[in-house]
């Protein structure tokens, strides 16, 4: 499909590989020696205290932020300053934001068809069919012709998920997708994400929804002060945390 030669021609078992990644904001060391390999189909949940660098880390994966040291390889393509590669990676990586970031001047349907039409060069009709398919999947096909501002927060977030899925991403990233939502809307968004997980999507989620993490995560990554402190399976992570800082963090959020 892609016209660019992949670095490794064999099918990649590793979807996202962060190797010794470091990043600074000015003098502030925000990511410190990050090593993390995400396998195809794997679901990673990233948690940690506020300001620990969770958002920064996943935003480096689609180059919304630039890392200064180390390697980030997404689906066999290493992220460098090369704009072609960055675009190639962004096409394959969907991202859902805390603030939805829908385009308010376009209808829900247009939000969903925009990238397939302009980036994937898909005919409009086909793009619309695909968009309707995913809007049905997130259970809001009837809202297709409304503007984002006319939907509830939960509905907007589901549109954002559908919009990403319309690009057929290989990897989906979520940055606290439910943090801006009222409690009764959190559930509908999480349900959508659980369904996505069950279909085998590779996922990296920053979230504080620990029940969700328990339910779908293959591994949980705990970050603090810019470093990965612990990576563990959900069972171990919750029942038998290893690191002192993990214990303190879990003590604070699970009562």
């Amino acid at each position: 499909m892609s016209v660019h030669p992949k670095l490794q021609p064999v099918v990649n078992e590793i979807a996202v590989d962060l190797i010794g990644v470091n990043k600074w904001y000015g003098g502030f060391h925000v990511l410190r020696d990050i090593h993390l390999s995400v396998k195809r189909g794997e679901k990673i949940v990233i948690c940690g205290p506020s300001g620990s660098g969770k958002s920064t880390m996943i935003r480096c994966v689609n180059r919304l932020e630039e890392h200064q040291q180390g390697q980030i390889i997404v689906d066999g393509v290493e992220l460098t300053k090369d704009l072609k590669r960055i675009d190639e990676v962004r096409r394959e990586v969907g991202m859902v934001f805390q603030q939805f970031n829908l385009f308010p001047h376009l209808t829900v349907l247009e939000n969903c068809t925009l990238a397939p039409i302009w980036v994937r060069k898909m005919p409009q009709k086909q793009a619309e069919e695909i968009a309707m398919h995913y809007l049905s999947r997130v259970r809001i096909p009837e809202q297709a012709h409304k503007y984002p501002g006319q939907l509830s927060g939960g509905q907007q977030q589901r549109v954002a998920i559908a919009r990403s899925l319309c690009m057929f991403p290989k990897i989906m990233m979520f940055d606290e997708p439910t943090s801006a939502l009222d409690p009764e809307m959190v559930k509908e968004v999480l349900e959508t994400m659980v369904e996505l997980a069950h279909e085998g999507m590779t996922m990296m989620c920053v979230t504080h929804e620990m029940n969700f993490a328990r339910q779908i995560a293959d591994r949980i990554v705990f970050m603090d002060r810019g470093e990965i402190v612990e990576i563990n399976t959900p069972e171990e992570f919750f029942s038998n945390p290893q690191h002192e800082r993990t214990k303190i963090f879990l003590g604070q959020i699970l009562h």
């Binding site: 096409r91 970031n101 308010p104 001047h105």
Partner: protein, 387 residues
Amino acid sequence: MSQSDPKLNINSSVRQNVFVRQESIAARQPPIPTRGVLAWINDNLFATPLSGFVTLACIALVALVVPDLIRYLFIDAIWSAEDGVPCRVEGTGACWAFVERKLSFFVYGSYPREMVWRVNLTLLMGALLVGWLLIPRLPAKRLASVLFFIAYPVAGYWLAYGFEGVLPKVSTNLWGGVFVSLLVALVGIVMSLPIGIVLALGRRSHMPIVKFVSIVLIEFVRGVPLITVLFMANTMLPLFVPQELTPDRLLRPLIGVSIFTGAYTAETIRAGLQAMPKGQFEGAMSLGLSYWQMMRLIILPQALTMVIPGIVNSFISLFKDTTLVAVVGIFDFLRAIEVARLDPVWAGPSLSTTGYVFAALFYWVFCYSMSRYSQNLEARLAVGRRR
């Protein structure tokens, strides 16, 4: 809420601390407003002593000025005359006969009279195309854009200027009046938008040279008066290009006006870009849109919508500032009036007032239409922007 409020007694249980609703309240129509003209006047004009005083003062001012104005402009005005003699009589009002007789000079300047149909046709085509573009109900906007932005300039140029062997050439020295004023305004408005967008994007660019050039251009042009820009365009443009390519004397102020308005528009647009939430850029980038796709499809449509009032404001200034092209020898509408009022056949005390009132009316009609249209446009675009 006081205990004695009679409405609360209707359902005494409301007053208890614990309350469980037994029947739900059916939806009712909103109360019909029972307010008449007098109530409106009372609320809006005489709500407080101060507002009552202001209202009375305004009425007094209107009563003082309007009757004289009406007498001067209509009752005592001279509506038809062969020459300036009746207008010179003491106590007469505006000399509309002068405007009527000189109208074709006002509109066409010195364009040869037997060929003014060419100007008329050019203006008519322009008006139709602008109407087609601006009236939302009309279909096929894409076709209209192509016709207006590409076909019309070429056709208009051939028609007005002439085309080898088909239409005789009419030098731009002879062009003048309303025709030239509209031409300068239209070219300025149409060109300033792309110039403004490019400069605004350039100023925000991460490429140092692009950024530097944009800043220098914007700040330089904004730092000098339009007259200076016009003089510079007039004298300096010919220095930069080979002799045989020297831009036409009408083209030079067109370029000057476009760049001048473009620089102002750029700053307005930049304000709109600045106000765009970062999330819109990130949302677009995360979908894999390229920089230009992101700008064209996501950022600019929203940023431009946000700054419509500012952009139209600079268009309105531009429209009025077109009168300044007279300083580089362009015979615009206002200049035509000034020349006409010196005509010894008509010269008289009321001619200046008449001419300038007429000019004011002309500029006001166009500027006010732009202002109204932009309000209308804002309201229309606001529909999709509700957040």
